[in-house]
Subunit: 159 residues, 4 copies
Amino acid sequence: MIGSSAGAPERALRLAYEVGLELGRRGAVLVCGGRGGVMEAAAKGAKEAGALTVGVLPGLSRAEANPYVDVAIPTGMGHARNAINVLAGDAVIVIHGGPGTLSEAGLALAYGRPVVALRGSGGVADLLAGRTIGGRRVHSADSPAEAVELALRLAGGHT
Amino acid sequence: MIGSSAGAPERALRLAYEVGLELGRRGAVLVCGGRGGVMEAAAKGAKEAGALTVGVLPGLSRAEANPYVDVAIPTGMGHARNAINVLAGDAVIVIHGGPGTLSEAGLALAYGRPVVALRGSGGVADLLAGRTIGGRRVHSADSPAEAVELALRLAGGHT
Amino acid sequence: MIGSSAGAPERALRLAYEVGLELGRRGAVLVCGGRGGVMEAAAKGAKEAGALTVGVLPGLSRAEANPYVDVAIPTGMGHARNAINVLAGDAVIVIHGGPGTLSEAGLALAYGRPVVALRGSGGVADLLAGRTIGGRRVHSADSPAEAVELALRLAGGHT
Amino acid sequence: MIGSSAGAPERALRLAYEVGLELGRRGAVLVCGGRGGVMEAAAKGAKEAGALTVGVLPGLSRAEANPYVDVAIPTGMGHARNAINVLAGDAVIVIHGGPGTLSEAGLALAYGRPVVALRGSGGVADLLAGRTIGGRRVHSADSPAEAVELALRLAGGHT
């Protein structure tokens, strides 16, 4: 799951929480950037539904992680860690998002990971939903449940 | 300068070559991903105008670089090297581009590097030109000369 | 835990397995490079004792991980991922080891993570045990139990 | 060239300067970590002998580089940039050195780059000179001229 650490509207946070819940209900592991905002809301939802949550952090300390992250991986690499974030998941769900999220969507497409943008969450998700970039498609979903359903289905084709 | 290694149309390659020429005439150093396509066209132009050219490569060997790269830096980091690519420049010019370029534009915005998209070159450049993402603006230029002029001016405010 | 993926003698693998068991008994999380040899032996021990095991992989696919890794993080960064390996742990135990392990010990010292070398396991561990490098000490332990005890104690001072 | 940014004795700085001079006389490009201490001394020597100097920096800004670096590459990756440092050279010369240098020597061996340690410069260089680690040899030289001669010869076999 990728999305903004700050500046996301209430609606995006609620959608992120629901995506987390849904991932947890399906028995998935949530991987995210480990910090606040959309990432924290999704991790909270996933945790409440019993999922294991992983946060790949930009800085040097596990203390950077939000309280819903079980396994915190500090990288000391700043935004270069965005590449790891998307590689660690079998599919990527985009919720709202700013510059960092834009880079993660690009990295996921470059590495061939399936990308699903949650339409209506604003930001980068709405900019990219349904577009084809360099021959690679950004899939579009209209609700948290649909986004998770689609991501898990697309992840099946990937190892 | 960021842009696709493959799949760019003839028009984008010509624009990239002209951006390279213009950068060289202005005494700038060209930093790029070091490989083919748009990157090679820009490096060729820059070299012909006497510029020093630097290529930050995804793989392990300097042999990956196109023939117009003076200083080749293999990183062995795949697309995670995209972060270095944009940090090594004082401003970023986007020409055409696919998923890797999308990630580089996002990384440049995230790191606060000025980004100028060459409108009319297609791909990611046309998608992003003039947009504001998470409060950060992607500047727009309509010709190679204007793109270089704008990039050098914006770079002045950055160290 | 850091150590060779290949070429380690039987004795080093047995010691690694015992370090893993001991970490699991103490309720620690094992973080390692996720591949074979010493890493696999330690992960096997940790798993058998009920620990959560994390593997930070050099390549692009989770399929690279050994069968005892619960959370596999592909990085696509080759040996540059060694920096993450040591940052993700609160203390580092060195068992046997070749060039990659040497780099990890150096990175751990550079980042200020406590380093404990298991004396008698051969390779890099025996080379570094008890030495001071640039003012930073490589601690020495003579058994798996002592190494884990010391690592957990030193980790207490670190966050 | 790899070596400490701080804490190196006068003798090590003098040797580094001579290695730089010698590399410049032979027409080599000097790649280093770009900061102070041994790196700055070597870059100063190389520059005086007319070499192009490249510095791969840990932080986000080119302003981190010492004044003798021509091409500064900020990476924002902290010590993970050590992997790039050694990949960017065709051979690696170790002068004195602490934890960061230890990691770079390990990374160079792991990536199969030839490593030459300048015996008598202290620190990591003296610890590693002449040793075999995981089947890979750290070559030993007794003077700056011998170190450069050996490094250039060994680099010939590498691309």
